[in-house]
Structures are given as structure tokens and as C-alpha cells.
Amino acid sequence: SQTIHQWPATLVQPVGSPLSLECTVEGTSNPNLYWYRQAAGRGLQLLFYSVGIGQISSEVPQNLSASRPQDRQFILSSKKLLLSDSGFYLCAWTLGVAGYEQYFGPGTRLTVT
């Protein structure tokens, strides 16, 4: 069966510091991968998605970036965090060819101080 991991689970970072959040999927190959952000009490905002290694599409202009160095690894980064980057970050995957259901990881709670 497939599983999705995210780490770290919780992160507190000062403004201006770098960020790296990692997401990995097990038990499938060539998935579509997604990064979402959820502000407190709000819905999910799609940040990036990837349909293959090295293929990244951005949905929202921001100081975040994403990379996909391996088939089942998706990384969310920032060179300098802003206070507005605080939130709950969720990674999700779906089967690249036949899948329409997205499955989510446990999330990372990021607080920028």
C-alpha cells in the first residue's frame, strides 16, 4: 500500500531564515505531487504541483519554491521566511495516469517568529 511522509511535523523559524520541508511517497511510482498551505481556520491553497522529476508548476507568486529531485520526493523551500509564511503545509499525491483521488500527508505546522 502507499504511504506519504512529511517532515518535520512542527517547525518554528525566525523571520529571514531558510526553510526546507520534505515530502516522500512510498509504494507507487510516477505520482503527481502537490504542496498546499492552510492558514488557521481557512481552506487549502495550492502552492505547487509536479507531474514528474524536475517538472514544477507554481500556482501562487511568493517567496517559496519547490523541487522534485527524485520521483517520489518533493521539497518546499524558501531562502528567507516571512511572517506571512506561517501556516500548515500539506503534501499530497495522486496516481499520475489513472488517479483522481488525492491523498494527503500528515502536514507540517510552520510558525515564523
Binding site: G43, L46, G52, E59, Y100
Partner: protein
Amino acid sequence: AQTVTQSQPEMSVQEAETVTLSCTYDTSESNYYLFWYKQPPSRQMILVIRQEAYKQQNATENRFSVNFQKAAKSFSLKISDSQLGDTAMYFCAFMKHEPLSGSARQLTFGSGTQLTVLP
């Protein structure tokens, strides 16, 4: 572009009772998918149920069922025999049908309904 609207920010229901959560959407697409996700206090997003727009039969998963009205662009979730563990934020979501490999298959989410099951 698609929009998803959940007009009930909060709802409550007594344990063992039935509750219905509302969702409407706007799209010009003829083929698409609709989903309900549940987000309990742990904040993990859990897929509850899925409906294909080309299917007239409403989807059912155990105590969860939907009422899909394509012409009205309505997609409500009914939870029967509510349990304390059903307490969560519920999100309705839309995905356009994209059959080609390499397609984005993006979800558009509503703003959510916080459901509280009361003992």
C-alpha cells in the same frame, strides 16, 4: 475557473443523529469529480467519498452518502448515525477531468464546514 462554496461555516449534531452538509460549485466543465474530505483535530486530510459527474447514482461509503444534483451544481454530504469521531472540518472539493498523462489534476476546495458531534 471553478469555485466551490460551502455556506455553513459551523454545524452541530447529536450523536446517532443524521446531518447533511451543503456544497455548491460553479463550473463550465461537463466531466469532473467531486470529493468530500475530512480534517479532524490532528489536521490530517482524509478522503471521505468521491463522485464522478458522469454517474447518476449517488456515491455511498458506509455511513456517508452524497446527494449529487448535477443540474443544480449541488453536492451535499449526509452522515448517518453520527459518531463522536466524526467531529472534524469537512471540505468539499472539485477536480476537472483530465485524462492525459502529465495533467495537473488540481483540486479546488471550499472553505469548509466545522462539524461538531455532541454526546
